[in-house]
Symmetry: C2
Subunit: 386 residues, 2 copies
């Protein structure tokens, strides 16, 4: 058992309100952390730090909990940058472009897909993300969805079955729903922790409330926990369905009614905001400030995917949540770390407390405030410990 | 004389409309470039490339002209992230926080300021910027402004005298203006190429139209070329003054009247948009689309500074110009390269043509579209050649 003392920490965000300044971020200045075999062994003031086998001096930088990106679609091949450029010139997004990625992903070899996922996970770590949820959803057949989840499982424990991403072109809706809830779920459930569904009202591509309910209940019966894509394109049933079924998280929440907000406030479902999607689709940003005021628990995630947000940058998501959603830098950071952990029902990450995973991220700057203060600049990285 | 063949270029943006697809970007696919002693020796299709002494294979990546950041304030010490957080909580920006930076900058040693500038220039190169303009403006005394320009000149040829950044607290306006146009200018003119002024109507900190005119005319008489900070905080005289005096560029242009746009369209002054400032101050974005439609030449720059935009990320500026100002990805890239070169009256950069500087930037992606398609992700870097 090797222990490492991480010192030279100008400011430590623990997300543990029992320590430090007593805020939700549990801020300590002049701090140190001891990591032992991948877990946190000690947290406190550098002056009080016990001895350790090794020592890493960060030279007066801020340290935060490793970022938790609870929503991504990393298993894909192909390029859709031209579709992005067309959308910026005024062509609206309706989910139809997903077919392009499905075609390219089915065509890709296992080795090539594995290489693409590995590069994306590495790109995320280089920007401070230490836990990432990965969904399927670009296979849309039993063989292709189960392959996607098998490959995703090589990189994360947080694997999500999203056969119900869109109805593939040329396939009858009812037959596809039967496939998703039957043979596809049977093949995928052993490979996943979560089931998810793209729920929108009356969409040619996504699933309405009744269809989404069927998918989620089938997934639960197969032992999976629930998450939902809800209310991305319009007001709809997704948010209230997620709360009613006790989903861990409902993601997007771009369009929310007063009763959606009330349902979220009364329930246990986390609202995961994906500001990169509003950025990349020129959609209105949801009012994060109002959600917090109502008592809703928020997470931030990237939704990294080739159609509606090909950004893996959680620091940018934090900056956008501050600029566009009314969160303070502290609230945005909490949502991207502890909030993401809640959205994944994990209590071993997102908070730097003894016994939790030693997932740390370092900021080239004196304070976590630099995450939002220095948008776009690559100053945040996961701390790699020997 | 050593020549290097740069190959493995999936897409080359030359900004030379005489080559490639005939667009303003002069796009070539499957391209190659030969660099000789820091200059471009040859540009064309990889299949036609002549021999060279060395060879660099970029593995199917896009290459663009090195980015030209024509507006930055890199000579400063101190931290203002707390002021940023306060502004995000609703405290408006009026230029008053500059005094904080002036104090910290005056206190810093030459060695420490040099180290800070070097780190910022390196951070910019790591994001694709190969030319940066650097202003003073945090000294506000003869000794401190001339020191700032001397240090800036160690890093760039594009040094700008900005004694007229703000009136220092406790100093009489008229006396300060005399100092700027007299002894300070005399000390600084030999160290700078440009003179600049922060021009706003009736501001406690900045300079009105008559004051700005006096500063610019004194600078011109001392052999400096003109640039202006105009129309950042409100409608005002800055834009029309810049055009009237034939300034190379007027920067910010956040608030523009119809007659400002008409003046820009009729004159030779470049309008340099600084979307990071609107992002970080939650100000409205100017309508770049309307400016292009009127025939105005646009540049994009970062304004990297501790008060209103501590971002050095030109890729983020491109993404913001597309999302928020209505530019296409092609127009935004042109503005950040060829446009920046025009704003600095340089014809040896911004366009990849034979005889120009071999300043190249590489994108980890198949197309320049990824600059806007992948916001926040560090995929762009200056190409370092032996």
């Amino acid at each position: 058992m090797t222990s490492t003392l991480v010192t030279g920490v100008s400011e430590l965000v623990t997300n543990d309100p029992e320590v430090g300044d007593g805020s939700a971020l549990g801020l300590l200045t002049g701090a140190a952390v001891i990591c032992e075999d991948g877990l946190i062994g000690w947290v406190g003031s550098a002056a009080d730090a016990p001895a350790a086998d090794e020592r890493v001096d960060l030279g007066a930088r801020a340290v935060i909990p490793g970022v938790v990106d609870s929503h991504s679609h990393l298993v894909f091949a192909g390029d859709r940058s031209a579709e992005f450029a067309a959308r910026m010139a005024g062509i609206p997004y309706d989910g139809g472009g997903i077919a392009t990625t499905v075609h390219a992903t089915r065509e890709a070899s296992d080795a090539s897909l594995r290489e693409l996922i590995a590069a994306r996970v590495a790109e995320m770590r280089a920007q401070g993300t230490t836990t990432v949820e990965i969904k399927g959803g670009y296979g849309l057949s039993v063989a292709d969805e189960s392959r996607a989840l098998r490959l995703a499982g090589e990189f994360t424990d947080e694997v999500t079955f999203l056969g119900a991403h869109v109805v593939p072109s040329g396939v009858d809706r009812a037959s596809y729903l039967e496939l998703v809830c039957g043979p596809m779920l049977a093949a995928c459930a052993p490979l996943a922790r979560w089931v998810d569904v793209f729920c929108e009202p009356a969409s040619a591509h996504a699933f309405d409330g009744a269809e989404a309910r069927a998918v989620l209940l089938a997934g639960r019966a197969a032992g999976l926990e629930l998450r939902v894509h809800g209310n991305q394109l319009a007001l709809g049933p997704g948010v209230q369905l997620a709360v009613e079924l006790g989903a861990a998280s409902v993601d997007h929440c771009t369009y929310l009614s007063a009763s959606d907000v009330a349902a979220l406030a009364a329930g246990s479902t986390v609202a995961t905001l994906l500001p990169g999607v509003e950025f990349a689709t020129r959609s209105p940003y949801p009012d994060g400030r109002a959600l917090l005021a109502a008592g809703v628990t928020l997470a931030l995630a990237s939704d990294c995917n080739p159609g509606t947000c090909y950004s893996s940058s959680m620091p940018l998501m934090i900056a956008l949540a501050v600029r566009e959603m009314g969160l303070t830098p502290a609230e945005a950071l909490w949502a991207a770390t502890a909030g993401g952990a809640r959205a994944l029902r994990r209590d071993d990450i997102g908070v730097l407390a003894v016994g939790n995973r030693a997932d740390l991220a370092v900021i080239d700057g004196p304070s976590y405030l630099h995450l939002a203060y220095r948008p776009g600049v690559p100053i945040t990285r996961a701390l790699e410990l020997g």
